[in-house]
Symmetry: none
Subunit: 417 residues, 2 copies
């Protein structure tokens, strides 16, 4: 079944509200195996809503509306669809009773417009609203299906997930569901990943393999429609194996978690702790790691040594290492190694990780923007240093530096723990 | 001029990405006086993109596209519009050079698909992309105008705001320009701010006064259309004065800079330095401050002491302060004061700032989620501690804690420097 979403509301067209409802509905429909081909946003205007219905009706069998079910004269969705279907508006008595009771309990006089929230298109099924007053509608005619939901997300979501989905399953007769799995990659760009997998992506249609990029991370979603989870898993496992055989080196998770969470889990599994010493990332690495709930068991703490003096004061790195002619300087592999070793010692942690480099906007110590060193101090072995040449604006370089450092630590943990 | 927005990307139809681009573009177009009547989302499918163009073309004079300019075979926007307009694709040489230089500097072999990002529709104007590789296009034909922008918000936003708006002004023939000023507020919520200013907002239509919330900050945009900057400034100054008279205590900037940048500027003006000691914010405060370019002159460094042992090891706070019956504990006003004092001493900075509290998801030391203490150690006076009870998820509490701490520091600097 093909579906379209029509979000109704001038506030969306003015950019005052983000259309998170379309996202939520699309996700839910995809999970039910219903393909969404278009989303449309239209203002609170009866003629244009009618136009949007006409068009969507010509392209899809299911139209899901959100918004325009409220009490005001601007709330026109039910009226517009009733006019399009040439049906009348009736009152949903249980909703009317609920509205009347609410106003009476508050001692407020109910104005006529409040009755609008109990409106139903003649012949439709009520979609009950536990969190608010506006009743939803489900209606089928001539092979087309219409589901009307309100705009406020805290009303819309439970209505869609509960009575909405029940109604959809009745009308769709689709017994297969969509099963998806997300694979997360690090240390590889979106286009390189796609390039590596292009043969696989083009050769196969079930499961589908779709790459997508999130800030600083790359993901692949593999999806298949199946009657049972077991049937789906057999197909998804096979696709995952094929992907793993090609780019397994970069595959850090088989679910949608950030890289820092994968690192914390590896540390937890081996009972190891971590500390950090950051220069150019200025606390971002610690911030990412501590944003993983429960990370205090593995991440003990760290320092942000933004100036040479602080590298000396907080980490005890000799000034002769950092400044003066012939000194390696703060941005160097030997300083990265020292920072990692010293924070490991001072915190008594198993691993110490360091980042020092040039985030920009201008060069530093005569070294170019984007040059970043990261060090890993580790148990029973000398520290290792990796060098990166990163691109982008200051905040992108900082993010890439932190994620690249985490990727190298992840690799270290995979190989040696 | 009527406009429509077409966002291209299957990830939007699958509900994997929220369409914040449509919101941003709608807002920007509204501010320019361009009415948006429809927003459409279409997947990465050439036929359906063509169908969306055809329809939008019949309803509006301007179509703004976002998405589908990337390197992969799924990025079809330019091809689809070129086919619709019956024009060929040409290479934008400066973009091609930039892409080639990037790959060569990284020592990576450039794959053929990367050339796609330098594609231009024949006869179009390039919309330069400083933050990424995909060049945008502006093209006019037969009274219809098409603006093509990429999907990643950090590339799309500056392209739209800079060269995109310049191109739009050229094609719209509007001789008045929109002049806006952003006022930034801290320590007050969006609804409280709006409540305080509601009389002013409702009483006046030029300049318009529009509040909007950003993550952890609140802003007001005052806008007026004028032929000259001088004419605009006269009107904007007056509106600004009226606002300042009501909520000046919270007004930290008369331009769109984050709170941490206002703090850095105050420190710079008085020649003072800052250090930080963070517990529950886990490095976020340092990360925010060091994300201000040039902040290394004022922010010397800090520590992330996530565990009690680290508060002891890195800051020398007695364990008896942190643990044991009758101890104040890590989450207490006295620990916040000690953390601020100790980091100030250890770094020899003028100000030391500390944050300790419960970010959640569960309580700590029997203290509730959202309880946060922040301390400020300062020259020539005893430290001061502020207590907050914050709401929200773990990451929202962390952000609010960091921003609240920065607000108190800002107040301290305004009053005493």
């Amino acid at each position: 079944m093909r579906a379209e979403i029509i979000a109704v509301g001038t506030e969306l067209l003015l950019g005052q509200t983000v259309n998170t409802n379309a996202t939520y509905l699309s996700q839910g429909l995809a999970e039910m195996g219903i393909d969404v081909f278009f989303q449309t946003v239209v203002g609170d205007n009866a003629a244009r809503i009618g136009q949007a219905i006409e068009l969507a009706r010509s392209r899809a069998e299911l139209i899901v509306f959100t918004g325009g079910l409220g009490p005001t004269q601007d709330d026109l969705t039910k009226d517009a669809l009733a006019a399009y279907l040439n049906r009348s508006i009736v009152i949903h008595e249980p909703s009317m009773d609920k509205i009347a009771a609410l106003f009476s309990s508050r001692g407020i006089h109910m104005v006529e417009s409040n009755r609008r929230q109990a409106h139903m298109i003649e012949g439709s099924v009520p979609i009950v609203n536990e969190a608010g007053l506006a009743v939803g509608n489900g209606i089928s005619e001539g092979g087309s299906h219409y589901l009307l939901l309100p705009g406020p997300p805290r009303e819309m979501k439970p209505m869609f997930d509960g009575p909405g989905k029940t109604w959809l399953r009745t009308i769709s007769g689709e017994s297969r569901r969509l099963f998806s799995r997300v694979l997360k990659f690090a240390g590889i760009g979106e286009s390189s990943l796609e390039q590596a997998l292009i043969g696989l992506i083009e050769a196969q249609s079930d499961p589908t393999i779709a790459p997508y990029a999130k800030e600083g991370e790359v993901a692949i979603r593999i999806s298949t429609k199946a009657l049972t989870e077991q049937e789906a898993n057999t197909r998804l496992d096979l696709a995952e194996e094929q992907i793993n055989a090609i780019v397994g080196k970069h595959l850090y998770a088989r679910e949608d978690i950030p890289l820092e969470e994968a690192v914390i889990r590896l540390l937890r599994a081996s009972g190891r702790t971590l500390s950090s010493a950051e220069s150019c990332t200025g606390g971002l690495l610690a911030e990412l790691v501590t944003n993983v709930p429960g990370s205090s068991g593995e991440f003990v703490g760290g320092v942000v040594t933004y100036t040479n003096l602080m590298k000396h004061k907080l980490l005890g790195i000799p000034m002769s290492q950092l400044e003066g002619s012939g000194a390696p300087g703060a941005i160097s592999d030997s300083t990265a190694a020292l920072m990692a070793e010293r924070i490991r010692e001072r915190t008594d942690s198993d691993y110490g990780i360091s980042v020092t480099g040039v985030a920009g906007p201008s060069e530093s110590e005569g070294k170019p923007v984007g040059l970043v060193y990261m060090g890993i101090a580790r148990p029973g072995k000398p520290p290792v240093v990796h060098t990166f040449n990163l691109n982008g604006s200051r905040d992108i370089i900082r993010l890439r530096a932190a994620k690249s450092a985490l990727y190298r630590l992840w690799q270290e943990l995979v190989e040696h723990e």
